[in-house]
Symmetry: C2
Subunit: 691 residues, 2 copies
């Protein structure tokens, strides 16, 4: 057992970016652990700490040195190393000299392949304390920091200026200079509560000392849980339930060293504002947590988390109340002002807003959306008028006071204002739903009008950008086309819409009139969508060959694709699948290789062999049976029915020779196989399935 | 995978006994874990919390119910259950009736031994929430609480009155009443800082919420580390090193919910007091941590850990300084007073103190100790006069003011006062050393006089109590005789003293004159000491048979025992050991079974067989070789030499018949074996070794 000690590393900085803190802390712990292992330094456990002004790692039971290693250098063969009388030859002496030892310190290495002179050097493992500064420097270099900064004219850079560094290994400071500071064993407490240095008795003391004396809860996850618990507890004191969003919780955790949740209130009158406005004001602008009552209605309270334990919490609360009041008053003013003018009346203002330099104004865009949404709605069996109206109004809220102030309320305010203008309810809803889904896993639009508008919005963007030669490339996707494509597919598939992409894309192109500079835009976007479709299903757990079997048909309807794919996935579980897939491969090869023209019809009277007659008969019956299933898009049932062909197909290949001398017979048999292949291809190319 | 949730259990009490807290908390965690497992309830991890007013356990990922079980009840054999036509017999119908099901719901159980009708009942696992109240009640009942109390006329009892109970399972309170309170999901914070209830968002919130809002660091070990770190840090601020004893650290951890270390000072004049007095005053009386400077000298500072974060820490420090000043002044006064009178002059006062009712006064005891220590010292080659003087003075400090106030300073003050009286340095040192070792693993007296006095003290106690019929029995050992016995053995063995226990015990008995009522006291105590010796070596890792091989010799000298034992342990590693041990067993059996008288000498002319002659010759040579080794007590070398007999002994048993017809020849061979056995027994009875 090698001796071990605990290690503590802390980098004290100026305030770190709160949204990046969690990732930074996790990365440092991970990078450090990997490098310790790579250096052969074993340890018991790693604990990472991350607070607004520090990143730290506590390594428990870290070995004090690398294990010793034996280096082996092979010299001449034993037969060449000693003469008949056992004296070292010149070769042996030369080798010994090159190793810097006398011949008698060399050893022999014997294996099945022979015996050699060998020099074994025991190399002592380096002490951990000497390796650590480099390991730490490399770990810091590997952190995900988009932009490093310099400070104080020092020749170093980091995400923020570094003020102190702790490198405590067991009971000793490791002497090192890193990021412009000298390592020691003093941390610092809370920026206001305990700015003075704190001497660390041992690495294990770090967390507990900072917690009690330093007033810093250094552990990110404990601090996060503390904030969550305090916020919930504070809301309970008001008989309410706190509304705690994960992202805000992470951000606040990145902002405070010592969390203290306090409840404040605002005038109940403001509750007349839409709740999204109140939530946006509290959450996004002030980093406050809203409070709901038992019925889910907002209460005139908020929970703020401050970074200081004040002796006068009332004063802190009052300060926070003073800050939010004008913001809510502003919001109320915007709301009142906006409602004086109808949404529709704002359309003209959209002319002054550019959608994309080459693609014209937002106004032109809304005209295209109106047209496209209308045609989509009609294809879906929806209300074309509503969709057209929603398209026209879709971007009007962008020029309201409220959305100018709270961009995250786009669509949401559109809905409120449309309702106020007595637009139809579904039109209003569509204004909000056009932005759904916002991210992977987000909910989808629920109304047909919302679905049509959301599809139109995404298709218009895709077609527009591809049409001026700006498709996404590599990591670059400034217009979020990838997300747009996935949104299109998800809406069509999950809402089970029988829409054809090619048609929609053609219409999308037409709507642009002469603006598009690229030819073939619809086909390009279609390929791009099919590529996304593959990714979508791979992620859902389907196998690449199953997807390929459907994709080769270049299907236009995503929902139809979905049903075919599920049919194939279910088919491959059948006992007949393997044999039929192999038979289809064979058929494809035969047909590809035959250079003659295949007649369009099978001539029944030319079928001589009982096996081919049996296959043909069963095939005709199945064509009848399968047709209605295909019409219903019940591809699973269709493939199950086709599976019954296995016996006849196997028998055919066992008993019948296709490429016979007689050209008439041969052509007829090729026609039979072609017809069989076509029958399967009406669902998918099952010859693509791998075993 | 069964669904899991976190569980939090907290029992809120009045202040728990601080020295018992750690044990209580660990026991609750352990008992609960065992009972959950016994009930078939799996969990991820257990975290125990223990603070002055609470015991808690956080169980992560506890399954929400027991797994389902199948109960199997066996009925009549199949042959008896159905008649020849396959109809159920009366036996089968009766069995089915007793299970409450029709015959056709019974199944059959077939094994190699036969086939039976069987009733299988799937029993659903009970929900965890229903099992928990009982599991908790049993766990609480199992806690190591010497005395339970009752309160408020409630029909329940616990170590302290219980004020609240948390039983939170996932997001739900488990409805239960335990220890007189109703379970809910509200904990309480710090007694002064946050006495109000705190709503728990979820079990994981417990620690973080109490830490930040409740101002209670509930985790015993984190709190302990925080105290340690704060105390060290506070001492560093004074350029000193804190003196932190584990026991005090545990106790302070049991006293505070939220530790805040503060440094205080006292008048540097008090540093003239012996440092043990200062440390006892700070540590034992005030629960303060003393501070040393770089040279290890005490500084005029102390670190106190308070349970409250004061807004005026200076006032708290001043209060503490005000408390310790009079205590130090008292100590200084005692010290000055005590030094006015010599130690020796206090002997008379010891006549009024009873050592033990039947064993007379402490004064009589010191006279015995003087006599016994003198004779021990002389046996050791030490100074008898010093030992006698030390014995006479040994208990005089018990009647000084200082030791009356600080009993833990007995011996220590004796030394200071003896030095002041110009007693010899080793006499003074012996006064302190007589109490060593105080506990298992404690250091031993270093001076011969100290060793003699410590041995005398322990032997006098052992002999006295055994002599009046009060040996320790079972768990009862009010005079600490077990510890005294171990002390005697450790001093003799570890200081390598060539003392004979039997002799010492005889002298110890004589010193009591006619006071002892039991006969045979010395032998009883000797047996008791040998028993302890066995335990001592078992703990040190020796094997029972090795110890037995030496113990059967009833050795008088423990140090000699030690050398023999190590010789045997080393002998058993030799390749000859097994065969020689077996031969010795055989010899012992032969000699035991022969009923004739064995002649005292081997007659060389009667040795006929070459094998017996060879054995005899080698044996005579070895007797010569081994004698000086035994004199030097080099038993390891002696056994190594005797191991060379293996060949001759094996050959003897292979070629020579011992129990021949000829009585002369037979007697002579028995005499040879007897002499061989004796030769080995001069070291140990190696026939006892097991393979």
């Amino acid at each position: 057992m090698l001796e071990t000690r605990d290690l503590l590393i802390e980098i004290g900085t100026e305030e770190l970016p709160p949204k990046a803190l969690r990732k930074l802390s996790e990365s440092l712990t991970q990078e450090l652990g990997q490098r310790l292992q790579a250096a052969g330094l074993a340890y018991g456990s790693l604990t990472g700490y991350g607070a607004p002004r520090r990143l730290a790692v506590w390594v428990q039971e870290l070995t004090v040195s690398q294990p010793d290693r034996v280096l082996e250098r092979r010299g001449p063969a034993l037969t060449a190393a000693f003469d008949e009388e056992g004296r070292a030859t010149a070769a042996a002496q030369g080798f010994a000299r090159s190793c810097g030892v006398p011949v008698d310190e060399l050893e022999s290495l014997e294996s099945e392949k022979g015996a050699w002179l060998v020099y074994r050097q025991r190399q002592q493992g380096a002490p951990t304390r000497e390796l650590l500064p480099d390991i730490l420097a490399q770990s810091l270099q590997a952190l995900p920091i988009p932009k490093r900064m310099r400070w104080n004219n020092l020749p170093v850079e980091f995400i923020r200026p570094v003020h102190w560094l702790v490198l405590l290994f067991g009971d000793e400071t490791i002497p090192a200079e890193l990021l412009g500071v000298q390592a020691n064993r003093e941390t610092r407490g809370h920026r206001f509560h305990h700015p003075a240095p704190l001497y660390l008795a041992e690495p294990a003391a770090y967390g507990p000392l900072l917690e009690t004396e330093g007033k810093v809860l250094a552990d990110f996850f404990v601090r996060r849980e503390a904030i969550y618990a305090q916020v919930v507890e504070a809301a309970k004191q008001l008989d309410g339930d706190a509304l705690v969003e994960e992202a805000l919780l992470d951000e606040v955790t990145g902002l405070v060293e010592w969390p203290v949740a306090l409840a404040g209130r605002f005038e109940p009158d403001f509750l007349q504002l839409p709740e999204e406005v109140l939530i946006a004001t509290m959450q996004d602008h002030q980093k406050y947590f809203p409070v709901r009552d038992g019925q889910g209605r907002l209460m005139p309270y908020f929970i703020t988390v401050c970074n200081i334990e004040s002796e006068q919490p009332e004063a802190v609360v009052e300060g926070n109340e003073r800050v939010i009041r004008p913001r809510l008053a502003d919001a109320a003013f915007f709301y009142a002002t906006d409602r004086k003018e109808s949404l529709a009346s704002r359309c003209g203002k959209l002319k002054k807003i550019t959608f994309q330099e080459k693609l014209g104004s937002v106004f032109e865009r809304t005209e295209r959306l109106a047209q496209l949404a209308r045609s989509i709605a009609i294809s879906m069996g929806g209300n074309g008028d509503w969709a057209e109206r929603a398209g026209l109004l879709s971007k009007c809220d962008l020029v309201t006071e409220m959305v100018t102030e709270f961009p995250e309320l786009q669509g949401i305010m559109g809905r409120y204002y449309a309702l106020r203008d007595n637009e139809s309810g579904e039109v209003a809803e569509a204004l909000r739903e056009q932005y759904l889904p916002r991210f992977a896993g987000d909910r989808l639009p629920g109304t047909p009008t919302g679905q049509a508008l959301s599809l139109a919005d995404r298709l218009d963007t895709l077609v527009g950008l591809f049409g001026i030669g700006e498709p996404p490339s590599g990591d670059k996707d400034p217009y979020g086309l990838r997300r747009a494509a996935l949104g299109v597919l998800r809406i069509i598939i999950e809402a089970e819409l029988g829409l054809d992409l090619r048609l929609l894309l053609e219409r999308g192109c037409q709507a642009y009139g002469g603006r598009l500079t690229e030819s073939n835009t619809a086909a390009q976007v279609h390929d791009y969508l099919l590529e996304r479709l593959r990714g979508y299903y791979l992620e859902a757990g389907f196998r690449p060959d199953e997807i390929e079997a459907v994709l080769v048909l270049k299907p236009g309807q995503p929902w139809d694709f979905d049903r075919r794919l599920k049919g194939v996935a279910s088919f491959r579980e059948l006992p007949e699948a393997e044999s039929l897939s192999a038979a289809n491969k064979r058929i494809r090869n035969i047909l590809r290789k035959s250079e003659e023209k295949i007649p369009p019809q099978v001539e029944p009277e030319l079928l001589q062999d009982p096996a081919e007659r049996a296959l043909a008969t069963q095939m005709y019956d199945l064509e009848q049976e399968v047709s209605p299933l295909l019409e219903r898009q019940d591809y699973q049932a269709a493939l199950r029915a086709l599976a019954s062909l296995r016996g006849a197909v196997d028998r055919f290949f066992d008993e019948v020779m296709v490429m016979v001398e007689d050209p008439t017979l041969r052509a007829n048999r090729l026609a039979l196989l072609d017809r069989l292949q076509t029958l399967f291809l009406r669902v998918a190319d099952i010859s693509r399935l791998q075993n």
